[in-house]
């Protein structure tokens, strides 16, 4: 009997439990989580519980809040809450889809770039710099001009705008991981380069990528609002927070709440995602105390 292999009880608590504890200890992180959950509830269930956001009623424009219209009506007598909820759904779709697209495309590119280095890395990074250097709004204007203004165009344009950051994060992780012994071990066991990227680099970069995603979503939400505000995204009469801001401009004195509501929602949602991202980053950081 070998003395060193006496079965020790495994005392580690689950990773999930520890993560939850460390996250919940941070008030700002919890606030972020609450804001994000509220946003998700509004986006998912809001449109089901409110009237049709497109139905106009010109006999009651700029109505005050009432039992019938909880936040009143806009310049065309449409239910403001219904429009905000519908706009939340647009923001969610734009934010999540464009982030997902950027992550799915950018992660393998960044990991491969950081792992293989050499000319591949040089080419990818120069391309990355080029995207980064080009002003996003000008790019988006051109993109919308070519492909037509629509939610799909916005999502694709945003994904391209988010790509460089994702590539950089993934590349950094790969460069750090490739020096680790277990990568040498995998090579020594006959692992193929593609296997190393997807089985070794990807799962070990998940933490950084999750944090990156929570930062990308609010960027995309603001981006969607900005593009819609400029008329490059969703087209009226559809409801989007950016579009609602555009039309509220004309009535800023008469009905300032029409600008305040979507503006506040953009701010709160962005803040929520950013706080959530910070909280996750801290909670996932292994150097932090337990």
């Amino acid at each position: 009997m070998t003395s060193d292999v006496v079965a020790l009880p495994v005392l580690t608590i689950g990773r999930g439990t520890r993560l939850r504890r460390r996250f919940l200890r941070r008030p700002l992180a919890v606030l972020g989580l609450v804001l994000v959950v509220l946003f998700l509830l509004l986006a998912v269930f809001g449109p089901m519980l409110t009237p049709d956001p497109l139905v106009q009623n010109l006999s009651s424009v700029f109505a005050d809040p009432s039992a019938h219209h909880l936040l009143g009506t806009d310049d065309l007598g449409r239910d403001e809450l219904a429009r905000l909820a519908s706009g939340a759904r647009v923001s969610l779709v734009a934010g999540v889809l464009s982030t997902a697209l950027a992550m799915v495309v950018g992660t393998p590119i960044g990991l491969a770039s950081g792992y293989f280095r050499g000319w591949l890395d040089a080419v990818i990074m120069r391309f990355n710099d080029a995207v980064l250097a080009f002003p996003f709004l000008i790019f988006a204007v051109g993109f919308a001009a070519i492909f037509g203004a629509s939610l799909r165009t916005v999502v694709i344009a945003l994904a391209i705008g988010l790509l460089p950051a994702v590539v950089r994060v993934a590349r950094g992780e790969a460069m750090m991981l490739r020096e680790q012994d277990f990568i040498d071990g995998a090579v020594a066991d006959g692992a193929r380069p593609a296997g190393i990227v997807f089985r070794y680099l990807l799962p070990n970069s998940v933490n950084a990528l999750i944090v990156q995603a929570t930062v990308a979503v609010p960027t995309a939400i603001v981006g969607e609002a900005a593009l819609s505000f400029l008329g490059l995204g969703l087209q009226p009469p559809a409801a989007s927070w950016g579009l609602m801001l555009t039309s509220a401009q004309q009535f800023l004195v008469q009905a300032p709440q029409l600008a305040i509501y979507p503006g506040a929602l953009i701010a709160l949602t962005t803040l929520g995602f950013n706080l959530l991202g910070d909280g996750l980053r801290d909670a996932l950081d292994p150097r932090e105390g337990r």
Partner: protein
Amino acid sequence: MTLLSVEHLRVTFDTEDGPVLAVKDMSFTLAAGEILALVGESGCGKSVTAMSIPGLLPTRGVAREGSIRLADRDLTALSERDLETVRGREISVVFQEPTTSLNPAYPVGTQIAEVVRRHQKLRRGQARQRAIELLDLVDIPDPRRRCANYPHQLSGGMRQRVMIAMALACDPKVLIADEPTTALDVTIQAGVLRVIRTLCRTLGTAVVLITHDLGVVAEVADRVVVMYAGRPVEQAPVASLFAAPQHPYTIGLMGALPANALRARSRRLAEIPGVVPPPTSDPDECQFAARCPRADEHCRAARPPLQRRRPDHDTACYHPGQEATHA
């Protein structure tokens, strides 16, 4: 029966300070089922020699000459793609650091099963079963439960056992163990060495064991190659080497063993004076001459070739032998 033969291996690294001759002229053979120890101090080229075998040295800035034959194939002529099928299947490596050599993202059972599936057509369940068998083989208790453990939940000794299980997953012909016990507690070293020895005996795996620990050599090896400054200076069966070391360097190494110093009742450990010559040049002289008590003009005029001095016992020295009688 020669399984692996390394002939006139020469490895040069291109660095900013000029070429570094890590391995100058290394030749040895390994028979099937044999445990060969590669011994020498830091920087003598033992790891570089071993890593050259499965082609694990970086490709950029490294020049490798000579031949490395596994059975009838010259490994130096294989493409990277072909080497991938050799690694892990015919030649496996166990590294020094068990702490960082496992993928932290997966349970160890999954990692072993993955190596199995990489080289053998097995179903997921079968590979998993094989992983449990392998963990059992390396003396890990309760292997079924340990399979689900992540590397950070295992002790260093257990991790090294997992590494050995992974290396042996596909019944390789050759196992390269690069200082497999250096990072472990002394108490745990013995267990891990025993696992390597008994497993390789039962499976018939040949082993290249790299170490600077002569105690480890005495415990597990069949044959020993002593390296100095990128060349073999002595090679012999383990019994012959310990009974009658021929090269002054080997004799010096043995004198530095605490047990031997104790036996000789000396108050301090014997040491070899001086340091290893820098690996930047390769003059035609005995590289050990500067540190050798027996060195003379002859040693500084021409490099001594590896010659058979005793049965199956080769030494590269003009003044070999147990005591310095030639001086």
